[in-house]
Symmetry: C2
């Protein structure tokens, strides 16, 4: 069987299983059988058997009446293990600590997934310890420093169908974004000037562990704290952090 066939991926019910889980993840609520069937297009009876199986295994939960479905807790456990098992996140950990310490700001570790960036690790700012747990959440690729840093490293960046406006500074034009990516390549780091979230600016650099880069690290700064000095220092610190991470990585991989 050819892998790029019209038959789609090999095992049908495995494909559907994860498609179902993906559906719950994207929509994030409770859905009835028929609602799911309308969305995914699978036959009712197939979904029925599948859902019952997954409920039995704890991967899908139902409401007390047994008629509304949502994602189950086992999914959470498995998801968390992705981070624990990732060698790069593990190696980057102490350097991100250091980076948060010297900047006093919030740092993130992001990984490109299709046309979005997934936050794999967050270290809150020293100042505002908001409980924002963003780990495992997606952020747009065109309006964040993480995303732009990663896009800039690709010869032909894949972009979402529409560059959704997040703030009044968001770059929504594809030409303008291409130009911005050129500047990112030139400078060696990406910046986000309240393009994703009003009042928040970010800087990011990619980790050059594979080509094109898959991972990036960033520092987020409230616009009010973004002095001229900080604008110079933070990118420099990011690059030092990158060196440290890349160094450990090369040692680990011999």
């Amino acid at each position: 069987m050819d892998s790029s066939d019209t038959t789609g991926p090999g095992v049908k019910s495995a494909t559907r299983t994860v498609a179902l889980l993906d559906f719950f993840a994207r929509q994030g609520g409770m859905y009835s059988l028929s609602a799911i069937q309308q969305e995914l297009g699978y036959p009712k009876s197939s979904l029925y058997a599948l859902l019952r199986t997954l409920v039995q295994l704890g991967w899908v939960e139902t409401d007390p009446t047994g008629t509304l479905y949502r994602i189950g807790m086992r999914a959470l456990l498995v998801g968390a293990s992705y981070i624990d098992g990732d060698p790069v996140v593990g190696m980057a950990h102490e350097t991100l600590e250091w980076l948060a310490e010297v900047t006093g700001e919030t740092v993130h570790f992001g990984r490109l997934d299709d046309v979005e960036v997934v936050d794999l690790s967050s270290r809150p700012s020293r100042h505002d310890l908001r409980p924002v747990v963003r780990v495992g959440r997606r952020v747009p690729v065109h309006s964040t420093a993480l995303g732009k840093a990663l896009l800039a490293d690709r010869p032909t960046p894949r972009l979402p169908d529409e560059l959704e406006r997040q703030t009044e500074n968001t770059i929504t034009d594809r030409r303008a974004l291409a130009e911005e990516l050129r500047r990112v390549r030139e400078r060696g780091y990406a910046a986000d000037r309240e393009e994703n979230s009003t009042g928040i600016c970010c800087f990011a650099v990619v980790l050059r562990l594979q080509r094109p880069a898959r991972d990036a690290i960033s520092v987020s700064v409230p616009a009010t704290r973004l002095t001229k000095a900080a604008e110079r220092e933070i990118p420099a610190l990011l690059m030092r952090a990158r060196e440290r991470i890349e160094y450990s990585a090369h040692h680990l991989l011999h």
Copy 2:
């Protein structure tokens, strides 16, 4: 079809799909095809097809050689959505904020899963802002305040096969644990005196949203900060937090 049948759960390859993901989550590393086959006992060729399917879908990743498998990023995204979609976690959120604020300590929201507690939400202490992201991780049920609070609410608590020793204070005897649970019921809250982690004490109460309780909230305090006053105040604050959460829950559910 009977639910407690010898046929096992309905759709075989869905069962295997999630069993495979569970395997990766528990072991948390990279495994070869034959290693997985030894562990799970499925035929090689079946696993082969399944793994290829899941790799194609981003739920399993391979190393550069394509011979070692690990959990993929999509699993992380789906797991994170469990927390976002949970109504109780959502409602408890601002109360946990408040609890962290008034105590100045780290608070957790835990949910019972089989014989372990899963951390669904953490709010770091005001003092030591360690980046401990424990969300999605399991903690033992017998050595934590969260676990003991939840166990105490069950008529016949399910326990792990062995009560593993975590610190020198861990209760490892089943009789002693039963006695401890009796005290928890009497007092209305559970305490952990460095039983799970040396230097850390916890208090926890269950949320009475269903019988037996499924969720609990806790406050963790470094043993060095645990004054007599704190020992009285923290359980009282936990109970106030519980009232607030239960109140919002009943409003939401009418």
